[in-house]
Symmetry: C2
Subunit: 416 residues, 2 copies
């Protein structure tokens, strides 16, 4: 089954915004067994929209379109689709009710433009929008399905996941594809591949395996196209058990979570608390931890000790330690974490000090040199890493590494 | 002048990564006077690459292609372009020297695959790559220019800005387009438009004006297509002076910076120091401040007081204040900033406490309610804001607002 994605919007073409919708849709369609043929962005211009539809509709089974459904003059997707499908706009009562309810819930009053949004091409099927005023639309022509959705990401995502995906499954009778996403951190991709090579050679023949690396995790995705979902799930569970025996320490979760999400239930269940003491990461680790809803149950706070002054005055790192070993050293991060645990009174702590760059590097301690300590009042483990020479990437690397080291510390795994 | 962008890569089509390159290229081309006709992403497949080139090359003057130039088997763009332009791959000595130098600088040894990367189609012009091993290529056919660049963002960006842009200007004899980007924060777009409406009606007729809003800033872009650069710059300077008189307090900079960049020279020049005390933003303000290279000159650190305990124990907010007024209140943030200035001994401080959501809201203080205080030892200004109901967006709104309030405080503007 082939699919195309079209994102419509002048703001994409002039480079004002990054089109993130197409990644979301591509991932969902890919995981449902569609092969994405092409992603195309065009301006809010009738001629361009019609042209691209004409160009691609013969070559694909499904076209998902986002954008151009807003209430302003420059949003012309709906009228263009009505023309393309030789239809006319008529008021849809169900949509009008949805819009009335939505506008009321926001405390606004209904205006002409909102009412106009309840007009849809007569020959389309409606996809309701709980989070906004623009409905989605489903058309069919010559065996190709056309779906038009609003471009506001959180409106589009909810509609796509909860309404469009089931409709697609029903319409295309797509085979079940069962995925197992195994999320790992710690070893680089090459080491992981080496460790898993024997397993991979004996992998169940129906499984398709992909390594999907990023600075925050390496995702191993196993997929099976299947008729019997239960059987596929059994196979994947079996293989997951085998992987666990080889790289169990590196697996921090399944599905689509990050390290900050993984440590949340661990700390909640153990009823333990956490704090951070950050230098080069400048608060990024705390930001990641607090991005998780409910993190206030275990996260108490942080000392961002960007200056040596605060390392000594607040975290009580002895001045002579910094003088002798430097602010980026085993001794300094060990004292940072000790001071932090005493001051913030949490069960666990993370302390980081490094040279993020671009300045501050020496031949002995080049830019990217970073010490990370994790621990509790009984035990502290500090480890040195040498990341790259790009400031923002160094902060990302150090933050993910620190969260993973904490996870390993709590669960009793070796820190790598 | 029309331009198309093609990004090549299986990882885009399966939704593994967001294509950010096309936004960068679109913005640059748009600012140079090109109209971006279409942005297309296709897989690393020869047939698809050839098809899209055939489809669009007649309709456009310039095609910028990224991706598929790496050293691995699945990177087929170079061979595909050699076939498309009926050429053959030959070793380019200059490129080979560049690769040797680059590999040596990284401490690696040259391998077969690197050497292979010095082979380029005989009929192309080379665009050198200082930051990687894949050179860029420039082809011409039937009055259309084709440019192929690597997809690694920092390699592509440097090549595009410093090598491709001057070549394009030379080749297409594009008119000078002079831009003035005025960066504002504080008023919503509608208020800004209202304040500027008289000015806009009398705007110099050669100026094209755009409002480009985002959670972190509203950019006003004035552009003039011109023959005489100096004259255009004079006109833009004149209009900028007029805008300054109307919304001068809201202008935090020009070009492409953010609030954290804007406060950097202000603090450096005044030789003043800064710290933050953050609750709901969880370290995000500190992270933004420290994302600026050289921020250690003025940023000392932060207390992330996520729990009330730390608000009282470290920041010395009296328990009875929190009990009486709540952690999200004028009184609490005022005490947070006082405690912070005393403890961290900085000239200026920022304190934030709010309900990021999804939980924790009440009818009196709904999710999104946020108090922000800025000040020094002599004066503190606390202000309440009600943002939306989405956690991560609330953190972004609160962080930008806090940085702007600090800027206004230091410069003596009213806080809005």
């Amino acid at each position: 089954m082939k699919a195309d994605i079209i994102t419509i919007g002048d703001e994409i073409l002039i480079g004002q915004i990054t089109d993130t919708n197409s990644q979301y849709i591509a991932e969902k369609l890919n995981s449902a067994g569609f092969e994405i043929r092409q992603i195309t962005s065009v301006a809010d211009k009738k001629e361009q929209i019609i042209n691209i539809l004409n160009q691609i509709s013969e070559h694909t089974d499904l076209i998902v379109i986002t954008g151009g459904l807003g209430p302003t003059e420059d949003d012309i997707t709906k009228q263009t689709l009505a023309d393309y499908f030789k239809s006319r706009l008529v008021t849809n009562k169900e949509v009008l009710e949805d819009i009335k309810k939505f506008v009321k819930s926001k405390g606004f009053s209904l205006n002409e433009r909102n009412i106009k949004q309840s007009e849809v091409p007569e020959n389309c099927k409606i996809i309701r929008n709980k989070n906004g005023t623009a409905p989605g639309m489903w058309f069919e022509k010559n065996n190709t399905v056309f779906i038009s959705l609003p471009a506001v990401p959180f409106e589009m995502k909810e509609m796509f996941s909860f309404a469009v995906m089931p409709l697609l499954k029903d319409h295309f009778k797509t085979p079940d594809i069962v995925h197992q996403n195994i999320l790992t951190y710690g070893y680089p991709e090459s080491t992981l591949a080496e460790k898993l090579s024997d397993w991979e050679q004996n992998l169940h023949p129906e499984i398709n395996l992909a390594y999907l690396p990023s600075p925050e995790r390496i995702r191993l995705r196993m997929s099976i196209v299947c008729n019997k979902k239960e059987k596929a799930e059994d196979i994947l569970t079996g293989e997951t058990e085998k992987i666990k025996k080889i790289i169990g320490d590196s697996i921090f979760g399944y599905g689509d979570i990050f390290l900050q999400d993984a440590i949340s239930p661990i700390l909640k269940e153990a009823k333990k608390t956490l704090s951070t003491a950050e230098s080069c990461t400048g608060g990024n680790i705390a930001r990641l931890i607090t991005s998780v809803p409910g993190s206030s149950a275990y996260f108490k706070g942080s000392i961002i000790a960007y200056s040596d002054e605060i390392k000594t005055s607040i975290l009580k790192v002895p001045e002579k330690i910094i003088k002798k070993h430097g602010a980026v050293s085993k001794e300094t991060v060990e004292h940072m974490i000790k001071g932090q645990l005493e001051l913030l009174k949490t069960d666990y702590g993370i302390a980081v000090s490094g040279i993020a760059g671009p300045g501050g590097g020496t031949s002995e301690k080049p830019v990217g040199t970073t010490w990370i300590a994790v621990g509790n009042k009984d035990r502290i483990i500090a480890q040195k890493y040498t990341f790259g020479n790009r400031r923002l990437l160094n902060v990302r690397f150090a933050s993910a590494r620190a969260l993973d080291n904490l996870r390993r510390f709590i669960l009793g795994y070796d820190i790598v």
